[in-house]
């Protein structure tokens, strides 16, 4: 492979990047329109992405078919808008809330098992921020969602699912996206996959933080690829942290233990600081507030030996047996994993937990059809940006993958069918430019650095300075640090010639994309001079509705990031009249 580069080119109608919840759903929707689809994933479809990490919760306003007849799409709409601090585009929130029930019924049809009441209604748990209990309960958690969607994908003969394909760049012709260039890990070859429409569905940027509860593969590839293709990137300052992730011991670091289970209906327990004081008020605050409370405790020196707080259900008034029953019912896999891999039974001993990077609320700017600002390029799921706003409710991520995944896949296919789009070819595209950049890392260099070292440095900078509470000084330091990584480390990455399954080359490509995503994130954080949702600035601690009820937008201009704003789309609930 090195030096003597040979590459293949495949053509489909629709190319989908990402084989978890959103990507599989998009591929299915496109296939149902009768077009040819190639589905690319950097791991194994069905075991990849953030979806297998997810818990039971997928929210939909089932009303009479669920736990509370008063619930409705309108109520869910209001809850999402309020939780997002009026920063979610309401045209998209409308699509999500209007179609969530139908998409969950699709899942049930595919074979996902949901918990039901004895009368046959959807069993739904109440989560902070939901007016009525709205989180439907997937019995085998997010894992069943990914495996069953993968199975559904394999039923469609017009989808070609490809495992171990590391997507690296959007191929463009003029201002139009015509496919993806990536590394086929199975053969060790670079490959172009062309399509009339390209759908990005490869998830978020949570693993550009040092401490994350997501898979290590979530390196924000889609944001960097879309940015380089000329798309608008929006609201990256809103990275959702999750408060209670295990920080010690190392073999289980990053495991989620739900803070929602500390609520009165469950264990009625709490998180404690090193003085033994409970830190959460009851009823539990929603996620962004909960994280700030925890982060403040740790920062002010009331943390545990490894820099966390104590998640302690041993003092629950419900008693040991009931607590064990709750964990075995709600999160059986996590509960057992902590025992098997970490040797810890949380019913008997407190756990050290800390806030970890959890979900990307911002991302690639889309409209209600999933179209980005680049012709032929679509995005859906966590990598897309402007509908969560400044915060997200539990159960929302999975609902979004299904609703917007179906939406983006359908519209991408319809556009490909419409006949206006020419069959894509490689002529007059930027493919040589992307190829040159991708192979840069394989050239032998003196004093080369490992891609892993570059990734670690980026994670350290982002983890330290793009924390739940941030300020100008720290963010400037992060920016300086990232510039140094670009100048001194990135071009010195040296990938050995390993042939197939060259993880080091894959990591080099990830590091390259991560650096752009991290830089855009820091710039977005610096730009928004207020605090809102998951963006909390120590130097601008108040929410400023007069100046900041708008999206932060970054796009590439003359090869450099250009930062501006865009109005939020309000359809039925403008701010101040909620």
């Amino acid at each position: 492979m090195n030096g003597k580069l040979e590459f293949k080119c495949h053509v489909a109608d629709v190319v989908v990047v990402g084989g978890a919840g959103a990507g599989c759903r998009a591929a299915i929707a496109a296939a149902e329109e009768g077009v040819d689809v190639i589905l690319l994933d950097k791991g194994v479809i069905g075991r990849s992405g953030a979806t297998p990490c997810a818990l039971w919760s997928i929210q939909a306003p089932f009303g009479e078919r669920g736990m509370d007849p008063r619930d409705s799409p309108d109520q869910m709409f209001r809850d999402m808008v309020v939780a997002g601090r009026y920063l979610g585009d309401q045209n998209i929130v409308e699509v999500i809330t209007q179609t969530a029930c139908d998409r969950i019924l699709d899942l049930e049809r595919y074979g996902v098992k949901f918990k039901k009441t004895p009368e046959g209604r959807f069993y739904q748990t109440p989560m902070p921020g939901q007016t009525y209990p709205r989180s439907c309960f997937m019995i085998e958690n997010g894992h069943s969602l990914s495996t069953i969607l993968a199975k559904e994908v394999s039923r469609h003969r017009n989808i070609w699912p490809r495992n171990d394909f590391m997507s690296y760049g959007v191929i463009t012709k003029g201002r139009r996206a015509v496919g993806i260039l990536g590394l086929d890990l199975q053969t060790g070859c670079l490959e172009a996959v062309l399509g009339k429409s390209t759908v990005l569905a490869s998830g978020g940027y949570t693993s550009i933080w040092e401490f994350s509860d997501n898979p290590p593969t979530m390196t924000g590839d889609a944001v960097a690829m879309a940015y380089r293709a000329g798309a608008d990137i929006v609201d990256l300052e809103f990275n959702q942290f999750y408060g209670t992730d295990v920080i010690w011991p190392p073999s289980v670091k990053g495991t989620v233990v739900l803070y929602e289970l500390l609520a009165e209906p469950f264990t009625d327990a709490n998180v404690y600081n090193n003085k033994g004081e409970p830190v959460f008020p009851k009823p539990l605050p929603i996620r962004d507030e909960a994280i700030r409370i925890m982060y403040k405790e740790i920062r002010e020196g009331r943390g545990t030996p490894h820099g966390g707080l104590w998640y302690d259900v041993t003092k629950s008034p419900k008693g040991k047996e009931e607590v064990r029953r709750i964990f075995e019912e709600m999160t059986p896999k996590h509960y057992r994993f902590l025992i098997e891999a970490g040797g810890i039974d949380l019913v008997d001993e407190p756990l050290e937990v800390a806030p970890a990077s959890h979900y990307q609320c911002g991302g690639v700017y889309i409209n209600e059809k999933g179209e980005t600002t680049v012709a032929g390029l679509y995005a859906c799921g966590e990598c897309s940006g402007n509908y969560q706003g400044a915060n997200r409710l539990a159960g929302s991520a999975l609902a979004d993958t299904q609703t917007m995944g179906a939406q983006a896949g359908k519209h991408a296919a319809q556009a490909a069918k419409a006949g206006k789009t020419p069959k894509p070819t490689l002529t007059q595209t930027n493919v040589q430019k992307i190829l040159k950049r991708a192979t840069l890392f394989t050239k032998a260099k003196k004093g080369g650095v490992k891609a892993q070292a570059v990734k670690d440095r980026i994670k350290k900078l982002v983890g330290e300075y793009v924390a739940p509470i941030r300020d100008e000084k720290g963010l400037r330091r992060a920016l300086t640090g990232l510039k140094a990584v670009e100048a001194k480390m990135l071009k010195r990455i040296n990938v050995p010639d390993l042939g197939n399954y060259n993880l080091e080359w894959c990591e080099a490509l990830e590091a390259d994309l991560m650096l752009d995503t991290a830089t855009l994130t820091v710039l977005s954080c610096l730009f928004r001079k207020e605090s809102r949702g998951h963006h909390f600035r120590l130097d601008y601690p108040d929410q400023d509705d007069r100046n900041w009820l708008k999206h932060t937008v970054i796009r590439m201009r003359n090869g450099k990031p250009y930062i501006t704003t865009k109005p939020v789309k309000y359809t039925k609930m403008p701010p101040g009249r909620g």
Partner: protein, 136 residues
């Protein structure tokens, strides 16, 4: 468990690149360990500290279910993320037996469910264009 080996784990790991090697071999690594560690933690240690060419699949779900990290451990298929090894043990790690090996511990999970290129092209008449990209 022998006393003199305490403080480390000795791991015999399957190595094979089907496109380059005539046959598989086993490499032996010594991993310092005072406490029990999971197989995955051990493999990550080998890759980051001892031998960066070792290929294996990292965790995805991180709660012992997604099976992305499955390997054969002392002959038995296990999840690497949720199976612990004790200090002083000598262990053998190999790829799963029922799938073709891509490299080292990485197998082609998709070989049973994933569509293959030839049938895709036959079915859909998609062209395959082999392009020489100059000097690369």
């Amino acid at each position: 468990m022998k006393v003199e080996k305490k403080g480390k784990i000795v791991a015999k790991v399957f190595r094979f690149n089907p496109t380059r090697d005539a046959k598989p071999r086993y490499d032996v690594y010594e991993v310092p360990a005072e406490e029990p560690m999971t197989i995955l933690t051990m493999l990550k240690y080998i890759r980051t500290r001892l031998d960066s060419t070792l290929a294996f699949r990292d965790y995805i779900c991180y709660k012992g279910i997604c099976a992305n990290c499955m390997v054969r451990f002392n002959g038995k298929p296990v999840r690497a993320c949720s199976t612990r090894v004790n200090p002083g043990e000598e262990v053998t790690v190999e790829p799963l037996a029922q799938h073709p090996v891509i490299r080292d511990l990485v197998v082609d999970f998709g070989s049973t469910t994933q569509g293959d290129e030839a049938s895709y092209i036959l079915r859909r008449g998609v062209f395959v264009d082999i392009v020489k990209a100059g000097k690369g």
